[in-house]
Subunit: 363 residues, 2 copies
C-alpha cells in the first residue's frame, strides 16, 4: 500500500499503515518522522529537560566532584541507552548480542567520549533455548572485548510464552567526555565537509535476507562494528569535530535531516559519491527501497571544518572500519533545515526524513 506521506521519498514504498493518533503502530519505532512525533508529543512533555531535548546519540551528564582541598572537579559523562529487538536474533555478519554492545558503544563514541562501562538487561521469553542465549552471550563477550568495555551491572526478567519474541536486550552505558570535546548535532556550520565512513544499507538488507524476505541468496553481511576505536584515532588528530552520528534506524537520510534541523543549515550531498555495495543496490532496486533510508550499524558521519578533512580521511582509510571513507557532501547556509541531493543526472532533489516504517525490528 502506498501511503500519503511516502510520496515524499522517491523510491520508498511503505507497506505499513501510518499514523493512528491513539494507538502505537510499527511506524512509531522507525526512527523517522513518526518516532520523532511520538517523542515530541508524548515523551517530551512529561520528561523534558535540556539534556534530553539536545537529542544527540547520548545525553551529557555534568557532575561536580568536590575535592578535599575545597576545589571542585567537573566531570562530563556521555550516557546512552538502547533496547534491541532485532528479528531474527542471528543474521549474516552479526546477531542481537553484537548489536546490543555496538549500538550503545557507538552512541557514546559519537559524542567523542570513550565508552568504558555498559549495563545489560535481558527480557527472556519462557521456552527460549538456553543454548541460544549462550550463543548470544558469547557474541557479547567478543564484541565487549573488541570495544574494550566491561559489563558491570545486569538484570534478567522472564515473561510468559507469547509475551516477547525469544529475547530482547537493553544496554546502557557511560563514557568520559574529554575536556574540550564538544561534538553535537547542532554544531555543524556552513563550509563544513561531510564525510561518510563507508557503504550504506548493508545491515538492513542483511537482516532482510535472514528473514527470507529478499527472495534470493546474496553475499550481503551486516556492517555491525564498534566505532570507538576509529573515533579515538580521529580525535588524536583534532577534537574540533563539529558533528558525528551513526545512521542507524532511518538511515543516512534521517541522520542528515536531524543534523540539518538541529544546526539550522542545509546539507548538500552528492549521489554519485555515496558508497553502496552493488549487491545492496540491486536488492534495494528489486524491493523498491531507497538505500538512503536503510539502517547501518557500523558506519558514521563526520561533519568537520575543511582544514581537517585530509588528515582525518587518511587516518580513517587506514582503519578496518573506515577503509571506504569518503567525502559525500558539504554544509551550506540555506535552505536551513534541509538536505539536498545532487543527483547523478545533475538535478537537485530534497531528501526528506523517513516518514513511515521501512523495516520493522531492524535493531
Amino acid at each position: 500500500m502506498m501511503t500519503e506521506n511516502s510520496q515524499d521519498i522517491p523510491g520508498l514504498v511503505c507497506p505499513i499503515p501510518l499514523a493512528h493518533d491513539d494507538k502505537i503502530v510499527l511506524g512509531h519505532g522507525s526512527g523517522g518522522k513518526m518516532s520523532q512525533d511520538l517523542i515530541e508529543k508524548t515523551f517530551f512533555p512529561p520528561l523534558d529537560n535540556p539534556i534530553l531535548r539536545a537529542a544527540n546519540d547520548a545525553g551529557i551528564a555534568v557532575i561536580d566532584l568536590p575535592q578535599k582541598n575545597g576545589e571542585k572537579v567537573t566531570c562530563r559523562l556521555a550516557v546512552s541507552t538502547d533496547s534491541h529487538v532485532v528479528n531474527p536474533l542471528f543474521f549474516p555478519g552479526g546477531d542481537i548480542g553484537r548489536l546490543a554492545i555496538c549500538g550503545t558503544v557507538n552512541d557514546i563514541a559519537m559524542m567523542g567520549a570513550q565508552p568504558s562501562y555498559l549495563t545489560a538487561s535481558f527480557i527472556l521469553e519462557e521456552g527460549l533455548n538456553i543454548e541460544i542465549l549462550q550463543n548470544v552471550l558469547e557474541s557479547m563477550k567478543d564484541s565487549a572485548a573488541e570495544s574494550a568495555i566491561q559489563i558491570i551491572a545486569g538484570d534478567t526478567k522472564v515473561v510468559e510464552k507469547g509475551k516477547a519474541d525469544s529475547l530482547y536486550i537493553n544496554t546502557a552505558g557511560v563514557g568520559i567526555l574529554p575536556p574540550g570535546v564538544n561534538i553535537h548535532g547542532a554544531n555543524s556550520q556552513p563550509g563544513d565537509i561531510v564525510i561518510l565512513s563507508g557503504t550504506i544499507g548493508d545491515h538492513g538488507i542483511a537482516v532482510l535476507e535472514a528473514r527470507g524476505d529478499l527472495g534470493f541468496k546474496s553475499s550481503i553481511t551486516s556492517d555491525i562494528a564498534p566505532l570507538n576505536g576509529i573515533v579515538q584515532d580521529i580525535l588524536k588528530i583534532t577534537d574540533q569535530i563539529h558533528t558525528m552520528r551513526d545512521p542507524t534506524r532511518g538511515g543516512l537520510a534521517t541522520s542528515l535531516n536531524e543534523v540539518a534541523k538541529q544546526s539550522q543549515v542545509c546539507i548538500e550531498i552528492y549521489e554519485t559519491k555515496i558508497p553502496i555495495n552493488p549487491a545492496v543496490l540491486s536488492a534495494c532496486e528489486m524491493l523498491g527501497f531507497d538505500p538512503l533510508y536503510i539502517a547501518n550499524e557500523g558506519k558514521f558521519l563526520l561533519i568537520v571544518p575543511e582544514v581537517f578533512v585530509e588528515p582525518i580521511l587518511q587516518k580513517m582509510k587506514s582503519h578496518r572500519y573506515g577503509q571506504d571513507a569518503v567525502i559525500i557532501g558539504r554544509v551550506r547556509a540555506n535552505p536551513k533545515g534541509r538536505v539536498l541531493m545532487r543527483t547523478s543526472i545533475g538535478t537537485t532533489r530534497v531528501v526528506d526524513i523517513l516518514s513511515g516504517e521501512l523495516l520493522p525490528r531492524i535493531c
Copy 2:
C-alpha cells in the same frame, strides 16, 4: 503442584515447574535460586569481571580523571539497570512507570550513592493505546521529581502485536559514590544489627490483587517509593553502614541469604519483630504464601554496627518511608552463609533462598 524443592520453604506452594536444563522457564526470573543458577552458569562465564561478580544492587565503576595540573582525580560511580515487565501495568499504589524510576533509584541508593541521572528505554507493543503510555509517563515524571533525578537519554522500540505485553520499560542509572562510603553485601560482620525499614509483602500482594488473583477485595497498596532521600539522611549520621539492600524479587528471605553468603556470616532474625500488615498476612495465609518471599519495592535492610543503631532508627522513624523501621535481627559468626529465624513459638528454623517462582512478573 508441589515441587521437590519447595519443601525447603514451609508455607510456600510453588505452582510453576522448576528447572529444565535446556529451556528458560518462569522460575529463571524469580530473583531466587533459579535466577542465581542461570546467572552463575550462563551469564557469568562469558561476561565475568570482578565488578559484575560483586553482585551488589549496582556495579561500581572507578574512573580516573586526569587534570590539567597532572594530578589525577578518581571518581566512583554506582551504575545499575533494571527491565520492568510488571503485569498489570497499573495496580494499587503504583504502576510500571513509578516502578521503573524507583527500581533503579533504589539500586543506586543501596550502594550509598546519590542517583542523579537515569536513562529510559521503552519496548512498545503495536496497538498499545497512547493514552496508557501517557499515563505511565506522567507517573514517571512525578517519581522522577520526587527522586530528584533527570532522565537524560531514551530509546523507543515497537514490536508487532503479540511480541510483548503492552509495554516494557528499562531504566539504567548512575550515581556518584561519596569518598569513604563502602557499602557492600560482603561487609556485614558478627555483632552487627539488622534493621528493616517497614512492613514486608505489600507490593507483591497489591499486584496479585490487581490481577484479580486474590479472590477478594483488600486495602493493600504497593509500597513503591524512592529510597534515596532517606538513605542520604542516614548517611549524614554515619557512612559506616556495612550493608544495605532492598528486598525486591525473592523478598526479605532471599536478600538476607545473599548477604549471609557474601559476608560469610549467619543472620539471625526474630519472627515476632518482622512488621507485616494484617491484610498482607491474611492474604498470604489464605494463598499459602510465606511473606518472607514476597517482593517489596519501597523497603530496605540496613546492617550496621550496634553503636549507630539508635540514631539511625530515630532518623528513619522521622521519615515518610521509614516510620515503621525496626530491629529484626543480628549478625552472628556461625553457621556461615545461613539465615536462621527464631520463631514465635521459640524454635529456630533455617530460612532458605526462594527456590522456584512465586509470583511471575511482579516487577
